[in-house]
Subunit: 349 residues, 2 copies
Amino acid sequence: MTVVAILGTGLIGCSIGLNLKKIYKSDSKKSNDLVIRGFDKYGDVLKKAKSIGAIDKITSSPAQAIARADLIILATPILAMKPLIEEISESISSKSIITDTGSTKGEIHRWMNEYLPDHTGFVGSHPMAGKTDTGPEAASEDLFAGGRWVVSPRVNSSEAAIATVQNLAKQCGATVMTMDPDEHDSYVAAISHLPMMAATALFSVVRASEAWPELSLLAAGGFRDTTRLAASDRDMSYDITSTNAANIVHWINRYIAGLSELRDRIDSGDAMNEDLYKLIAATQWEYDLFRNGKVGREEKGLSDTRDMEPGMLDFLAGGWVREKLTQLNKDSENRSSQSDLERLQRRDI
Amino acid sequence: MTVVAILGTGLIGCSIGLNLKKIYKSDSKKSNDLVIRGFDKYGDVLKKAKSIGAIDKITSSPAQAIARADLIILATPILAMKPLIEEISESISSKSIITDTGSTKGEIHRWMNEYLPDHTGFVGSHPMAGKTDTGPEAASEDLFAGGRWVVSPRVNSSEAAIATVQNLAKQCGATVMTMDPDEHDSYVAAISHLPMMAATALFSVVRASEAWPELSLLAAGGFRDTTRLAASDRDMSYDITSTNAANIVHWINRYIAGLSELRDRIDSGDAMNEDLYKLIAATQWEYDLFRNGKVGREEKGLSDTRDMEPGMLDFLAGGWVREKLTQLNKDSENRSSQSDLERLQRRDI
């Protein structure tokens, strides 16, 4: 009999529960061999988790949920984890494997080091999944499929604990990336938390405009996509900013510098703005590579021109830029070959 | 017989052509009554436009395309329109109705005022549609369905010209919004061009990181959505920035101010960060309204509490903020009620 305790039965906790059920059901020898106990501070969330089949048993306290559990999954909001870790540290079995699903890892590891320094069953984790809807109603077996799942062991994590958490991620359909908690936090600041803050600030400044009634009518798919992360759960966003502040501030500053550079190029007032065109064209080119799956280490091979499509060589040789600038230049010569006086005369005819 | 000339047979020009064909075909009396002539500076684009049925006849010059045309549609990149307007001004019939599809309107109106000041058939327009793919291959009858289509007459536009362009937009399935060209440019700077620049700068700064191989692997849907507009066609982006620079610079500056404020709140180092939570929560609340269709003038009725759901009243009364802060405060009291010494002792047991 495998006993799993899920503390925090929202979107992530319930989606893991549903996956565990599926995994055990698919193996006829183990199909009756799993019990998932759930705990959540909100009773209605807990009932809903049971009704959708994500947990088997409702418990009335974290201690009751974790008693003799083989695997404990902390899936609450991040800031709720500190008191929860302190609470379960009183009764946790030394044999339990314990993981969490927090979007930041450094602080959670520090809390674990504070309250459970000698427990060899702890391995942090971060399933990089999410959607705008939250709660058990939004949970699904497919939530993690095709995504990344970061696994962050600590120095004293047992081999068995690391393998269990990595397996959990794989069985949920995710690709495992193992990394140090602080390394994780610096990376997600750039590709997850910065976009969240960028979307929040973008929506916020446009929403604050006197013209919002007109702007909201005109806003199309581009505005909606770029601002979509402003819909992120407010508590999750707050908890992320408060446990990864230094990295997020660093990336917002880099972003402001990037925006300032772009603004200065736009503001140059130059009719033939080579620097601006280069920046826009290079970004589009790099984005297309990213969009077409050129990611990770293999992407470093790009300087090998044998792999390049003709369009890329053209770009690298300045072809795009040259073509555009030639066109702009020609237009400008055409215009200046005809004086304002001539044009005015022509119009009078 | 209705003669339409489409100058520039890319995504937008061809999608309008396909819509005109559909409109005429659906009316049995008019089904053979439409000829669409196309011109494009790229011969292969023009052939493709004919092969997908977006135009009937390929022409070899703008002058040939527009001769005795009832309706002329300029659907080239913005900066290509100035020389094109100058060129057609030599031969355009005073009876032709002429419109354009540019993403900015002020400059195009100024070029029209320069080269065709007395033509009463000109009405500017901007179908607010687009997708990442470009060219005739990406054209479709559905491109404009459900979107907005801005119509910008000038002072001397004839009633017939205004009605024709408005009808074209409606028949393509779009909702017409009629506005002044400079008003249009100030609005789209906020909800279209700023998001485009925000996405470009965001992708650009993250892409420039030494850690890009890892970041690109970790990047999930949130990063992809927020940066999607970095894939916008480079020439279109450049032309937009060069014909709406002042408005875009204004909005980038407002955005930088918004980001700076958010950064300062994150950076305050306060464990109970009421200002930060309020900003995040208020933005999420407002975003949810927007996402659920609360747009336009009717949205101003929000201060009428009779329409409010309980959650909104709760928010306005500070409920969310109070609940979260109470929780944070409780956690912090729990922690301080137990001295560090006590905790250390407990751990030694």
